[in-house]
């Protein structure tokens, strides 16, 4: 018979406990998600009472969405992209065009009328999900235009420059296409549809997708590309196609994040997502650990909180000081703490479960005279 059917007993035991651990992990995650759903429900109802916290939680989720995508291309695949702010800009403007009320559309575009078809329709609140998905899809289309030429070449770091150039070109287009974007004046009065349900909902969905990607054969191929492109290629991995896949996923996340951001702050203008945004995202993924999705999420929230907390430095001390602090943090993390918070790993409840088991073992050990260590292994 095949050896797999004749596992020794001890090994079968460990497999059982592994399964138990997986289910404990899933159960705890489900529990936390349920708690989050309740929290989101009440959080959105009482947003006026805790407006600053509500805002930070939204911003954190929006940054985290873009960062999840960014860590897939930058960390997991090892391709240095500088383009997320461009994709966020595209997503933000498309969401604006889709959800701005008709009355506002006539009022805002004074110099040059808005082109069709956007001038004659608008999506109601129930269509916000379409607007956000549309933002992601448009960003993906733009990602195809940039990604195909930039990722074809052998040398990976050209992607950085090509995506940077794309961001700059996009900024110029936004300024110089007033019939679509209202030029440098921007668009005000975008309905503020974003709330915790939307931002956290998309964050959970996209993070779940990213986790599935990471743990699939695609994800392993992406990590192979990061470690050694040439070796990956000689193992039969279609390097170009997989890099493009990761790049497009990150573009989709950035597009959705841009749409959510515009619908949170209610305005869209060319400088809304500048190169600074990409720098923030870089800081977030580096802080969380390049390649870690949990790290990107935690980093996004930490960044949003610190960004708001340090606002006083910019207003009270010296404008620009905050950016200096962020830049120094980025360099220090890279030099002395390159793992970031999570390294390339992910958050799991294993530590907690093990601690609980140890605790239980100690309790039973006190009662029945068993050693704590052995009961940990038995469970």
């Amino acid at each position: 018979m095949f050896p797999i059917f004749t596992l020794p007993r001890s090994e079968a035991d460990t497999r059982m406990s592994g399964n138990l651990r997986v289910w404990c992990n899933r159960g705890l995650t489900a529990l936390v998600l349920a708690g989050l759903a309740t929290f989101i429900f009440f959080g959105d109802r009482h947003k006026d009472e805790f407006s600053l916290i509500w805002r930070i939680l939204n911003l954190g989720a929006i940054y985290a969405i873009a960062a999840v995508g960014y860590t897939v291309i930058n960390g997991m695949t090892g391709q240095f992209s500088l383009g997320p702010h461009g994709f966020m800009l595209i997503g933000g403007y498309l969401a604006t065009l889709l959800i701005l009320p008709l009355a506002k559309k006539r009022f805002v575009w004074i110099l040059e009328p808005l082109i069709e078809p956007f001038a004659s329709f608008t999506l109601p609140y129930s269509g916000f999900i379409l607007a956000l998905l549309g933002s992601g899809v448009v960003a993906v289309l733009a990602g195809l235009i940039v990604g195909i030429p930039a990722l074809r070449g052998l040398r990976g770091d050209y992607l950085a420059i090509a995506t940077f150039g794309f961001g700059e070109i996009l900024f110029m287009l936004v300024v110089n296409l007033p019939s679509l974007t209202n030029g440098a004046m921007g668009v005000t009065g975008v309905p503020t549809y974003t709330n915790l349900a939307w931002s956290w909902g998309f964050l959970i969905a996209l993070a779940y997708a990213a986790m599935r990607l990471k743990n699939s054969s695609y994800g392993r191929a992406l990590r192979a590309i990061r470690e050694d492109e040439l070796a990956a290629e000689s193992m039969g991995i279609n390097v170009f196609r997989l890099k493009l896949l990761a790049f497009l996923f990150s573009a989709f996340c950035a597009g959705v994040s841009g749409g959510l951001m515009v619908a949170l702050i209610g305005i869209a203008y060319p400088g809304l997502f500048s190169f600074f945004t990409t720098f923030y995202l870089l800081l977030i993924v580096v802080l969380g650990g390049l390649g870690s999705i949990s790290g990107a999420i935690v980093g996004g929230f930490i960044f949003a909180a610190v960004f708001e907390a340090l606002r006083f430095i910019d207003t009270a001390v010296v404008p620009g000081m905050r950016m200096v602090v962020f830049a120094i943090i980025l360099i220090l993390v890279m030099l002395f703490f390159r793992r970031g918070l999570f390294g390339q790993g992910e958050f799991s409840w294993d530590g907690l479960i093990a601690a609980v088991q140890r605790g239980l073992g100690r309790l039973s050990g006190a009662g029945g005279g068993h050693g704590a260590g052995s009961s940990h292994l038995k469970a």
Binding site: Q79, P149, A150, N176, V318, V324, A327, L330, L335
Partner: protein, 297 residues
Amino acid sequence: MAGYVQQFFNGLTLGSLYALIAIGYTMVYGILRLINFAHGEIFMFAGYWMYFLVFLFRLPWWVSAVLAVAVTAAMGVLIERVAYRPLRQAPRVSLLSTAMGVSFLLGNVIIVLPWAGGRQKPFPEVDFMRKIYTLGDVRIQAVTIWVPLIAGACLLGLLFLIYRTKVGRAMRAIATDMETTALMGADINRIISYTFLVGSALAAIGGILWGCRYPQLYWNLGILPGLRSFTAAVVGGIGNILGAMIGGFILGFGEILFVAFLPRYSGFRDALIFSLLILFLLFRPTGILGKPLKEKV
């Protein structure tokens, strides 16, 4: 006709400035395979050192210029020593992230410094640069003659350094194969420091000349010239010093011609430059002079 002559000198000036900056990118890329994002900020800092030395320390402009080049070159070496060297064996993304961090740090330090700040500052005037020569109906600013002359002298000096001295030979050797060069007994770290020293010094000279030509200083001055110069380095063939010079002149002349003949679209020039960059990456990623890079297994 007069217009053409003037535009020729404008193109020559801009081209030599781009060439000076592009060399720094191409040298560092050739040796470390790193896009040194901070190079544009190094270039910008030279102008600010000039400003500080002339207006705060009341030094004569020529003393300030020499000191500014020296200090900026030292900055380049320091950045490599502190921020890049520890990460030399790290994944590429880590190194690029750090370079990005250094670039943002330098740019924003200018905003934070009380003597500089986010507002535009004047570049100290250098008198002999501001003269205007008239020849018939051709009016040529002295600066458009001096800049190509000084830049040309620097470029010749650089070519001598690279191809006729021991340090230059070591640089070329490292660019070809760092490990073997180390086995041959060359001090890799010292040579890389020299590379940053030379590249930053040239960028500093470029920055000071840029200030003479366009006498305003602002904190993000380095970004766009830096990127145009990087494009120049790619167009010429990244890693190739002569290519960077040629690319710089192509970009300088191209930009001046574009602005002169299509002034309506001058706002799109950077879009055009980036399109050029992407076209080159698509169809000729090794640039005009570059040889295809062999991937080492």
